[in-house]
Symmetry: C2
Subunit: 164 residues, 2 copies
């Protein structure tokens, strides 16, 4: 079958199939006399595996590892499990980072009247995080229990790159 069929059946776009071939995640497809790539059921099967792995957030290099394990009959399930657990840890770390942001924003939003007047504690806080203007150590109004503390400007989520 052509790449379009393989794409439709596997859930991986034709573009991405070519890309995965290019970076070596999948083997180069066979070609017809005219140069068209040819795929069979097994290829679609593999592409489906890749699509589902991607849906779980695995990176291409992680998927490469999963594919290796998948094909190796003498694999140890512990290795697969370790990959999945590493991914889970990564997810929880990212979730925590996003939750920190959300908590901080919730705190700020709760202090903003949100009317037609210009005064806005959100902007004030973005402008000068440690101006002791009520937000710094105040009432905890409306904060859900268990929420992570939300303090702008002091540390904790400083690494801006690759949060997700």
């Amino acid at each position: 079958m052509n790449i379009g069929d393989a794409a439709a059946r596997s859930g991986v776009s034709a573009k991405m199939i070519r890309y995965y071939e290019q970076i070596g995640l999948i083997a180069p497809a066979a070609r017809t006399a005219a140069g068209y790539r040819e795929y069979d059921q097994r290829d679609v099967h593999t592409l489906g595996f890749i699509a589902r792995s991607r849906d779980l957030g695995f990176s291409v290099s992680e998927i490469s590892g999963l594919l290796d394990l998948w094909r190796k009959k003498d694999r140890r399930s512990a290795d697969v499990k370790a990959l999945a657990e590493a991914r889970i840890s990564d997810l929880y770390r990212k979730i925590a980072d996003l939750q920190d942001m959300a908590d901080t924003l919730e705190t700020l939003v709760s202090t903003c009247s949100g009317n037609d007047r210009p005064d806005c504690p959100i902007l004030q806080e973005l402008e000068m995080p440690d101006s002791d203007d009520s937000l710094a150590c105040s009432q905890d109004l409306g904060r859900k229990p268990g929420g992570r503390a939300a303090h702008l400007s002091r540390g904790s989520l400083k690494q801006r790159r690759s949060i997700v």
Copy 2:
């Protein structure tokens, strides 16, 4: 002051300061006779605002909107609040997506013995999500209450792009 000083004081790297200037997020800096960019306290102030906005996950275009509101004295705080709330919604959506992935992986991991033997339900599920081999509608072992359902392959987190 030079760009290096402005970077150190604002928390925005010199690289990013040049980038923000290039894309129009900040106005082009004044230059010395030799072509060096010059910054003053107000510039550092603005850059700090940008750094803190970025720490909260605002995109460059959102920060552009925040800067506009910040500078406009006749702003409505409701507009600022709306931006923050949109950001919060976005964060919660992303968190939910990541949580879905984590839940699915937790389910899979819990079914894998993780030993030296090759048989692995994680790989089986990645391979054929709807093979009715125990996972499909089974025991709910160890699932935390309130966790989102975790079914590979049927919808829900299909949009692979821009989860975060």
